[in-house]
Amino acid sequence: MSERIVNSCEVKWLDVLDEKGNIDESLMPPLSAGEIRKMYETLILARTFDQRALNLQREGRLGTYASILGQEASQVGSALAFDKADWIFPSFRESGVLITLGYPLPMIFQYWSGDERSLKAPADLNIFPISIPVGTHIPHAVGAGFAAKYKGDKIAAAAYFGDGGTSKGDFHEGFNIAGVFKVPVVFICQNNQWAISMPREKQTASKTIAQKAFAYGFEGVQVDGNDIFAVYKVTKDAVEKAKQGKGPTFIECFTYRVSHHTTADDATRYRQQEEVEAWKLKDPVLRLKLFMHKKGIWTEDYHKGVEEKAKAAIDDAVKKAEAVEPPDPRDMISFTYEKLTPRQMKEIRDF
């Protein structure tokens, strides 16, 4: 007879770049100056997009929009680790992921203006349409990864979701299946501390979100989600591991939703401004800038050029998005099935 500990879990934390722009050389992923500049430029582009989307919404030119402010490093850093052949399953707060993966900017604006045509990803991108019901797309990534493994394709599938999503049944069912079949999938949780008005500590009694992977037999890593180098590094490792047939990884990006849940929300109803201000000091763009400045690859002129380029790209995208012909009302019927049903053939005559 005995009473003993038969299992316990450990969760690895990683940060490489601190708030002052200092790095731990030993943990730094191999990145050229050009690659680091690309990170910075993508962060600026994502932030510029986000700010413009918020402005357009206020002007009545976009519908409800979910801001990514504060989460740019989690999104850009992770998305940079994927190849075009990989399959990505985004949630609704993923503008930075889509931008990094090369999703056409006008289409992202088009989506938030309420046009389904924007979810038809370009043929060279395996990006699934944005999933609105929280966490329910997690099993889809598992299935796609399973199928890729079955077909012998050396790709990874990835699901993006938030801390709220980890309370959903599909999170657990998807994780469980991924663990059992060692599916080549990377789960990326942006723990932005808030699911609308629910703070992280009320979402789950777990000390970390990452540790939930332990229960399903694979590794969960917690990473400073405002540190683009750390996020990139853990995602790159997880993608590599998936492609080598070593199964799934769960990444918890520890970050913060600086803005409201969406443009339809007012976060001042449920959270303290001091908390938001404290997180602003951890800004992901600022710390990369400080690092680059120290390395001599950031100057005011460079920054101005990056901002102007981003602004021009966004101006152009808005112009294109707003110039798109309105959708054909028949589309809402004709994409239900491959062929119209006899009843739909009658209905479509209304248009």
Partner: protein
């Protein structure tokens, strides 16, 4: 030609499709080693291996959700949900995703998925093993709903469902699994989805049924000049065959096992009223399960339409 029951016919359809197309895979609880709780997938694991006949964890939403990802990636998964009463956790996946992926992505991604599940009463199991919830799925655009009533049609319809480019919910009446045997050819034949079958021609009334109720109807019609339609596909359903028959007979009786309110009989009835009102000689009648929770074994015979209840409806419509 070999005589088969419905279990054997469905098994043969799965076997032939697995053989024909490497993208077809089967997944579900106990579908492999155990061959499924009704033995529908018996022998398939041995023949095709664990990569294609996949025993999954006990997770209905996860099974269907994963199958959606597989289908979008290019496989043709056939997912089994052990009993229809256990499909409810997967409704979110079926309604929110399988039904919508083609539309949501404007055709970039599709969901050629089959969800097979046994339905209906008659095997004396515990609660939630006897549901007839087909109407839930019929309401949802993007889903097809198929319910075979015989071994022959089960095979042809299942093959069509597997090859269909859109998600199909395929309902198998547990009562019929081993009840009847008929000749089922080996080798390929398909029955088109969306087409009904006139099982018996007649002139005085049109009786519409599907799945297990078809057999009760066939018992009940012996003494009347009734045309009997086996609907086979409920969504999209074959309005043309129904209306042609109704215009001939002028009387309609619809029989289903599911409760009356918002049952699929309501849809058929409304369609007949809209399209063939002037041909009707009598009110359209429905003989259905009651607006009640499906009872356990001791009361299930009282719940389901009986031959007597069906015949009373025939007498009623013939008064006009």
């Amino acid at each position: 030609m070999p005589k088969m029951n419905m279990v054997q016919a469905i098994n043969l359809a799965l076997r032939e499709e697995l053989q024909r197309d490497k993208d077809v895979i089967i997944l579900g609880e106990d579908v492999g080693l155990d061959g499924g709780v009704f033995r529908v997938t018996e022998g398939l694991l041995k023949q095709f291996g664990p990569e294609r006949v996949v025993d999954t964890p006990l997770a209905e939403s996860g099974i269907v959700g994963a199958a959606i990802g597989m289908a979008a990636y290019g496989l043709k998964p056939v997912a089994e949900i052990q009993f229809m009463g256990f499909i409810y956790p997967a409704l979110d996946q079926i309604f929110s995703h399988a039904a919508r992926i083609r539309s949501r992505s404007r055709g970039r991604y599709t969901c050629p998925l089959v969800v097979r599940t046994p339905y209906g009463a008659g095997i004396k199991p515990p609660e939630l093993h006897s549901e007839s919830a087909e109407a839930l799925f019929c309401h949802m655009p993007g889903i097809k709903v198929v319910i075979p009533a015989t071994p022959y049609t089960a095979k042809g319809l299942l093959i069509s469902s597997i090859r269909d480019p859109d998600p199909v919910v395929f309902l198998e009446a547990t009562r019929l699994y081993r009840l009847i045997k008929e000749e089922v050819p080996e080798g390929e034949y398909t029955l088109p989805l969306g087409r009904a079958r006139v099982v018996r021609e007649g002139n005085e009334m049109t009786v519409i049924a599907w799945g297990s109720m078809l057999h009760r109807v066939l018992q009940a019609v012996k003494a009347v000049d009734a045309e009997v339609i086996d609907l086979m596909t409920l969504r999209p359903f074959d309005e043309e065959t129904i209306l042609r028959s109704v215009k001939k007979t002028g009387r309609v009786v619809i029989v289903h096992e599911a409760p009356k309110t918002c049952g699929f009989g309501a849809e058929i009835s409304a369609t007949v009223a809209e399209e063939a009102m002037l041909y009707l000689k009598a009110p359209i009648l429905r003989v259905t399960g009651y607006d009640a929770v499906m009872p356990l074994a001791k009361l299930e015979e009282h719940f389901m339409p009986t031959v007597e209840r069906i015949q009373r409806a025939f007498e009623e419509v013939m008064k006009y």
